[in-house]
């Protein structure tokens, strides 16, 4: 009970930390809207040429674009969450302080990242999405059950995204310099999450491969749940399975990593 309160406090603190930077948030909203605009026109052209590409009609493709922009920062699809902080703390040695705390490293940073993600969903995600829904033909459901299922899928996506980035951050214990790992995160995030093109529009067999990877749980699953393209329960199962696997692997790697930490006295 006590530890639940602790992690809740950490998450709230993280939420407030990100909420402090109002100008940066407004700038992010603007940027996501601009990129959404560019992408939506290219998708409209693409679906004009190939109606029903990947099983989407044009309005579903448009919805997908704006969901992508809304979730881009929330799910830290190309990075930009807690992982840069943690890698820096590993490099400088400050991570020793984290390990001293009477709290679990993985759970602590999960709470930090959830606080950030919730803020960015509300602060950065909603406006570009509303803009897109107002000015472009979208396929949004009226059924509140689908919207709540969507929120569940987004919450699960947050955990999967965290699981991936926690592993990336832990690589810092061995590599010290996180540049390469962060770059790899960016590439995979951009490509495998369907940020560039919905995964169902990929040519086969590439499409089947990326659909099975954990990145498919980030954007594709919540989008398909909201648009009623996929059965919510099978989407939740896919997401939850990857969340459990990634968190378990993260725990094993964490154990190996913390054994390597040497605190220099003085």
């Amino acid at each position: 009970m006590g530890s639940a309160r602790l992690y809740a406090a950490v998450a709230v603190g993280s939420f407030r930390r990100y909420a402090t930077y109002r100008v940066a948030t407004a700038a992010g909203v603007f940027t996501n809207t601009v990129f959404g605009l560019i992408l939506v026109y290219t998708y409209l052209a693409l679906w004009d040429e190939r109606p029903h590409l990947g099983g989407y009609d044009q309005s579903q493709a448009v919805t997908y674009v704006w969901l992508g922009q809304a979730l881009f920062a929330t799910l830290a699809i190309q990075g930009g969450g807690f992982e840069t902080d943690l890698i820096e703390r590993v490099r400088t040695g400050d991570v020793a302080v984290d390990l001293y705390r009477p709290a679990d490293l993985q759970a602590w940073w999960l709470a930090v990242d959830v606080g950030r993600a919730v803020f960015q969903l509300a602060g950065r995600g909603v406006i570009p999405f509303v803009f897109g829904a107002l000015f472009f033909p979208t396929a949004l459901p009226r059924d509140p059950a689908l919207w709540s299922a969507f929120l569940v899928a987004v919450a699960l996506a947050m955990v999967v995204s965290y699981g991936i980035r926690f592993l990336v951050a832990l690589s810092g214990f061995w590599l010290l310099d996180g540049t390469g790992a962060l770059q790899a995160l960016m590439v995979t995030g951009m490509f495998c999450s369907g940020m560039a093109l919905p995964l169902n529009a990929f040519p086969q067999p590439l499409g089947d491969i990326v659909a099975a990877l954990p990145w498919a749980a980030l954007l594709q699953m919540p989008a398909d749940v909201l648009m009623g393209v996929v059965d919510p329960w099978s989407a939740f199962a896919f997401q939850a399975a990857w969340a459990v696997v990634l968190l378990a692997v993260g725990r094993l790697v964490q154990r190996a990593a913390t054994r390597r930490v040497v605190v220099q006295g003085g």
């Binding site: 930077y21 100008v23 940066a24 407004a26 700038a27 992010g28 603007f30 940027t31 601009v34 990129f35 605009l37 560019i38 026109y41 290219t42 409209l44 052209a45 693409l46 040429e49 190939r50 590409l53 310099d177 540049t179 390469g180 770059q183 790899a184 960016m186 590439v187 951009m190 490509f191 560039a196 093109l197 529009a201 990929f202 040519p203």
Partner: protein, 276 residues
Amino acid sequence: MAEGGRAAGLAQGLRAYRLVAGMWIRSTLAYRVSFLMTALGSLLVTGLDFVAILLMYSQVDALGGYSLPEIAFLYGLSAMSFGFADLAIGSAGRLGTRVRDGTLDTLLVRPAPVLAQVAADRFALRRVSRIVQATVVFGYALAATDVVWSPQKVLLVPVMLVSGAVIFASLFVAGAAFQFVAQDAAEVQSAFTYGGQTLLQYPPTVFGTELVRGVTFVFPLAFVNWVPASYVLGRPYPLGLPQWAAFAPPLVASVCCAAAGLAWRVGLRSYRSTGS
């Protein structure tokens, strides 16, 4: 007298730029393996957005009426111009950080133009990989398009590249100037620079008229490639612009340059140190 002073100032700025950039290059090359790895990584990252286009073309033959080689032509031009501007002056995007933590003051007391110092700050040689990747795509475009080349068209290509780089560089400088006012708004700048570059990878026929109008007359990105490339590819001009508009990029670039210079001066003059 004033002319002589300006020329001397320019020479001094270029010298300062060369010295600062040279220092950063030497420091980067001290860690050769790390440099090679990050350069290769950037090559992969920048290459990916062309892979996204290839994925789209695996499903269709044309987008907005443009074939893959034609898109590659647009892509190559915009990405090369952007690459040169980003390499030369992209570091100016970090100005907001320097304003926020007060380290800009150090640059102000040095006897060298601030813009030159900001532009060369943390000069990132790995950005060469963007140019390399864009050149490869452009080479493919040249080999695959069936353009009937005339002397004017051949001459227009280097003119486009230089003008395009200057237009993008002006955007970087104007964006940096904006950060004097809104320190945390570095992302607004990427909406215009990276966003603009992404926009120009696709043909103008894809986008709504309002958007095309905006990037032609307000932020004249259309002159980086859309308008002159329409001439080379023998396509109708966006917005029905007159024929001579294809040769306007140098003029547009000079106007952008002047506007960015003005914005920079206003920004720098409005700077108030945090005092730390």
